[in-house]
Point group: C2
Amino acid sequence: MRHLPQRRAIMMKKDKSNGFSKVMTKPKAVSLKELAASLKLSPTTVSLVLNAAPTASSIPTGTQDRIFEAARNLKYRPNHIARSLRAQRTHTIGVLIPEMSEGYSATVLSGVEEKLLEEGYFYFVVSHWHREALIEHHSRFFVERCVEGILAVDTPQHHQTFLPVVSISGHDETKGVTNIVLNHEQAGLLAVEHLVKLGHKKIAVIKGQSFSSDTEARWNAIRTAAARCSIPIKETLVAQLVGTNPTPEPGYVAAKELLAAKAEFTALLAFNDISAIGAIRALNESGRRVPEDVSVIGFDDIYAAEFHNPSLTTIRQPLKEMGCLGAEYLLKRIRENQSDDFPADVTVEPELVIRQSTAAVKN
Amino acid sequence: MRHLPQRRAIMMKKDKSNGFSKVMTKPKAVSLKELAASLKLSPTTVSLVLNAAPTASSIPTGTQDRIFEAARNLKYRPNHIARSLRAQRTHTIGVLIPEMSEGYSATVLSGVEEKLLEEGYFYFVVSHWHREALIEHHSRFFVERCVEGILAVDTPQHHQTFLPVVSISGHDETKGVTNIVLNHEQAGLLAVEHLVKLGHKKIAVIKGQSFSSDTEARWNAIRTAAARCSIPIKETLVAQLVGTNPTPEPGYVAAKELLAAKAEFTALLAFNDISAIGAIRALNESGRRVPEDVSVIGFDDIYAAEFHNPSLTTIRQPLKEMGCLGAEYLLKRIRENQSDDFPADVTVEPELVIRQSTAAVKN
DNA sequence: ACGAATTAGTAAATCGTTTCACTAAATCGT
DNA sequence: ACGATTTAGTGAAACGATTTACTAATTCGT
């Protein structure tokens, strides 16, 4: 019995020291002051050298080397918070998205991320779920966190801040906001012409949700293109997505409506790929085959488009590139915020990707 | 030479005034000191009151009201950077993901975001593209930026930091890391039993990429479950995903391999939904129908699973919930970092979702 | 050999907040 | 009426970097 406690004590000790080393001794990051002290130099000198300030040219190479070496050995990393406070620059931007959906936002974000990391910037993302109040709320938090600019993705009417703002597919008319937008006219034309070439005359359209910022532009483009091709779109062949569900469900519902209206159509222009997928489901359920009975064309070219069954003919938006461009223009604005001649719009070109969801109309 | 500086100075001035008016007066956020000055109080008092510090109880209501009102009027917002520096708390965490873009990461992130915003935390996301060096690199940046913890999503072997770490589907054996994991045994069992009940005996399997942290656990679970059902998996019926392409393409390739091997199978267990979709494409191309000729079952239940054609039978992982849980446990660790008894694992339960990609075997 | 320029640094202010340690006046208990 | 407590605050030191304005010693040009 006497041995047992002892053994346990020993084990405990072992455990503890073990745990201690594991739970972290908290190797409290070394500060500039400590680094300087270890070198018997002033923080000033060390800072100057490590930042390669022009003033540091007077510090002899030997000293500089000592400083670099000590920094490496002690694993010194400047505290970004302190630096931000002093320099009034956080190298951080805020990104507003409707939601973390797999297709659209994620792809745009991947472009944003690539560009920003390249330039030493980090970003906060927040979703607003199409709720005005959340947009406002998050924008304020961004200001509080001292982001240097805001990138709004598919987010309309952004509330006024003094921060640089770039909007991707946002159609933000606010003065001073750069918009990264698709050439919608061309996109509409590509879509409609493709269907017309395949012999379609009765074309149905599913418009986007009323809150989606691309809805109006895309709808106008389609109408214009259709008129130009002398195939005006019939009122009865137009449905609209409803609700904030980011799945194909609203497209499914809209297509059901179109089918219920009993107006004949041989082709369907969906607002985007997600809704096209929902629409195809509805068409199949009603006994119509795609593309044999109805041709369906989507928008965006998200990953899912290629591997859906049937694979989707779609108007490709270069989403990742738009993310890159958005980040790029935002950084440009941040860096040259005295100048005023930023473009109000930067346009990217759509591309028709023909796959298996469209086919020539049956005679 | 003497004139040049002068002329440039004049031009600069013009430029500046020009930019100044247009770039919008930069309403430089008001600081605590300014707010205090406007009230003829000290910053201390104002800070105490606004933060509802216990000490502030001695400040009369009248003064408190004046302070609140002035804060509102001047739109005072405390500078988060300064606060972070002083308090040594940034209310920010870093999230590591393999890449932004597939269903997996985005869904997990939506859970993470929800939980974190609820608690007043923001997060940085970075993708590492499965590259060890990037994981290391980003982790260092996280430390530099003073994140309070790191959430690693589907990211194996995380390098040691002194920061709290929670890993989602990471199977990180490092002491002190909490893992949010699926009950893989159960998941494997659900999948295999479902197929067995449908009469399948020749079951093919597509394993995950070697770098994916779930690969091993899932494969073991499937093998164990199959053995228990007396349907051992034949070597020739096992393929593995290759490459980092986050689309269905690797699944397509793997299924092609299985088909080329000419070993008969009536059911296919894919590593995840994405690869199941690719596999179905390959099966269709080889003239096999799903589910009539081959049943296919996926994993994850990403959005696309429900609306794919045929819709995917799958083993659902509660991805969003896992994100929530990950965030929750990370915050718990951050707040109680003295204590040592955090669970090494938090297990969530899978769910069999039966849709149209599986059917009874033909006799 | 003398002033100017260069070399090798340092002290102190600053960014915007929080917080510890105070004070001076008013009020209270007895 | 007197010390103790409460009330209503304030001053100054952090947090960890950057940066401006210095100094003291050396070297240079002539």
